[in-house]
């Protein structure tokens, strides 16, 4: 941003003791200009229109109104898919988190000293992270067929990339003293890693896994929409049949499940850190 200072030279201030200091001009006008341009372009492209929003905004609530009162009789049929969703995210998170461990070690620059290995592993992790989970789920349904296996795979892949990134950043910030001490009296690299570095990153690693699991339960509800099993499957079905009262019941059940899971995981994470 040096060019900015050249166009708008910094202001000179003379202090009381005669010294001169330079105050750089604020970048705010530039930021605002860029934001305004981006907003105008976006409004053009997306067809944003306040009139439509005001005139037809009430349509938004028609489906919500039809969701109430929720169809309580539908509840017994929700349990199966709900537990499928939870199981999918539990297993997927566990597989992904365990798979992430070796990759995170390979991507941490304080343990592996080979730049090539580090770059390749990091590139791989960020590539996997950018592929949308929904697309992974769709591909998985073609490979494994419709059902929970596809959903579990998608969640495992997502968790793998997410935890992998967090974990290697964590490993890079640990205190290397214990590791070097163990290596210096003859322990192998693997052994010193497990004894000296793992205990340092373990609490935050588990906390991250729990956090990821929370998010995955929510995400798993969407995955069903592409046929990857769980709650999304019946949600999709009921929406296309326009049985909105059953949809309301499904959403309420999902909400309660998410609240309970979040409360438990929040408690555990508090204990860990």
């Amino acid at each position: 941003m040096n060019w900015y200072d050249k166009i708008f030279p910094p202001k000179k201030i003379v202090l009381s003791d005669g010294r001169e200091i330079l105050e750089k001009r604020s970048r705010l006008p530039l930021v605002i200009l860029l934001l305004v341009i981006a907003t105008v372009v976006s409004v053009q492209v997306t067809g944003f229109n306040f009139d439509v929003l005001i005139n037809r905004g009430k349509e938004f609530f028609t489906i919500i109104q039809q969701m109430f009162p929720p169809e309580v009789n539908y509840l017994p049929k929700i349990w199966g898919p709900l537990f499928d969703t939870i199981k999918m995210s539990l297993l997927g998170s566990a597989i992904g988190a365990l798979l992430a461990l070796p990759f995170a070690v390979l991507a941490a620059s304080n343990i592996v000293h080979n730049r090539l290995v580090i770059t390749i592993t990091r590139l791989f992790l960020s590539l996997v992270r950018t592929v949308p989970t929904l697309i992974i789920a769709l591909i998985a349904t073609y490979v494994f067929g419709l059902g929970t296996v596809a959903g579990t795979t998608a969640i495992a892949v997502f968790t793998f990339a997410y935890i992998g990134k967090l974990l290697y950043e964590q490993i890079e910030t640990v205190d290397m003293g214990a590791y070097e001490a163990m290596e210096s009296f003859g322990a192998t690299k693997v052994r010193s890693f497990f004894a000296a570095i793992l205990p340092q990153v373990l609490p935050s690693y588990i906390a991250n896994c729990l956090f990821c699991f929370e998010g995955n339960v929510r995400y798993a509800a969407i995955l069903g929409y592409v046929g990857a099993g769980g709650l999304g499957l019946i949600l999709n079905e009921k929406i296309s049949w326009r049985e909105y009262s059953s949809v309301g019941m499904i959403l309420i059940t999902l909400f309660i499940a998410v609240v309970i899971i979040e409360a438990v995981s929040h408690y555990l994470r508090k204990k860990l850190t």
Partner: protein, 269 residues
């Protein structure tokens, strides 16, 4: 020396019971969740299909990738970016009053609890349900996608806002009060400088996420790059999928790099 070490080791708290219990719980949970897996659906041609998919994805359709009309990848990416941008902006603005109403150091506890409950409800409803609701308002297209995105952003953005607000240093406001500042001056010099970096960082991060999640909108026809991607997948046109994915991945990586830079700058001040 040897004895000292042994004494120290003996002093360590005995945690093996706790560890075994944890491991047991983990194993039981895993065993319980594998019961959901049903491998019967796996088709025999799975390997063949996988090969076709990856062959297609890694040889993207270059015609589509560099086509500058409305069906080409560049325009679709621009549309997706615009949806994500405006969606984030609208969501970020809507989240400000909600988060001030749910910050426990500003409003009484019961009000804050109600606010948080509301945020949780908004967060739980899956994106495509919102998409369907908004399509009734605006008809299918990017406008519906934008509104859906803004509603989905509210949950996470206001959660981060609340953390920033609750970490705010109230003493600065008190000293400004003591200097005789007006309410406007207190907001301008006491509150905004404290909150802006956190808020901006949250918004940029959310923009990143929205760009990534934009494909979900395609499920219900709410504009962006999602619908062509899912159409192409359902029709097994893997070269097109490859082209769209290549564009999307490159875009997300670039945006992630830029936003990471900006956020580091914001965090260091």
């Amino acid at each position: 020396m040897q004895k000292n070490i042994q004494e120290q080791l003996a002093k360590q708290p005995k945690t093996w019971i706790f560890q075994i219990v944890c491991a047991l719980i983990f194993v039981v949970l895993m065993a319980w969740s594998t019961s959901a897996l049903n491998f019967s659906g796996i088709s025999e041609g799975g390997g063949e299909i996988t090969k076709n998919i990856f062959m297609g994805i890694f040889t993207p359709d270059t015609d589509m990738l560099f086509n500058l009309t409305k069906q080409g990848v560049p325009y679709l990416l621009l549309e997706t970016m615009c949806i994500a941008f405006l969606g984030t902006v609208v969501g970020a603005i809507l989240a400000v009053p909600i988060s001030f109403l749910s910050a426990s150091n500003i409003v009484p506890k019961p009000v804050a609890l109600v606010g948080r409950f509301f945020i949780m409800i908004v967060r739980t409803v899956p994106a495509f349900v919102y998409g369907l609701m908004f399509i009734r308002v605006t008809g299918p297209g990017p406008f519906a996608g934008l509104l859906t995105m803004s509603l989905c952003s509210i949950g996470m953005v206001s959660k981060m806002y609340i953390e920033a607000i609750e970490d705010m240093d109230i003493r600065i406001l008190e000293s400004l009060d003591a200097c005789g500042c007006t309410t406007f001056q207190k907001i301008r010099y006491g509150i905004l400088p404290q909150l802006m970096p956190d808020f901006a960082s949250t918004i940029i991060y959310r923009f990143d996420m929205n760009l990534r999640d934009a494909t979900v909108l395609g499920l219900v026809g709410a504009g962006g790059i999602g619908s062509p991607l899912i159409f192409a997948m359902n029709a097994y046109r893997w070269h097109e999928v490859g082209a769209i994915l290549a564009g999307l991945i490159v875009l997300v990586l670039i945006i992630e790099f830029i936003s990471g830079r900006i956020r580091i700058k914001l965090a260091r001040g």
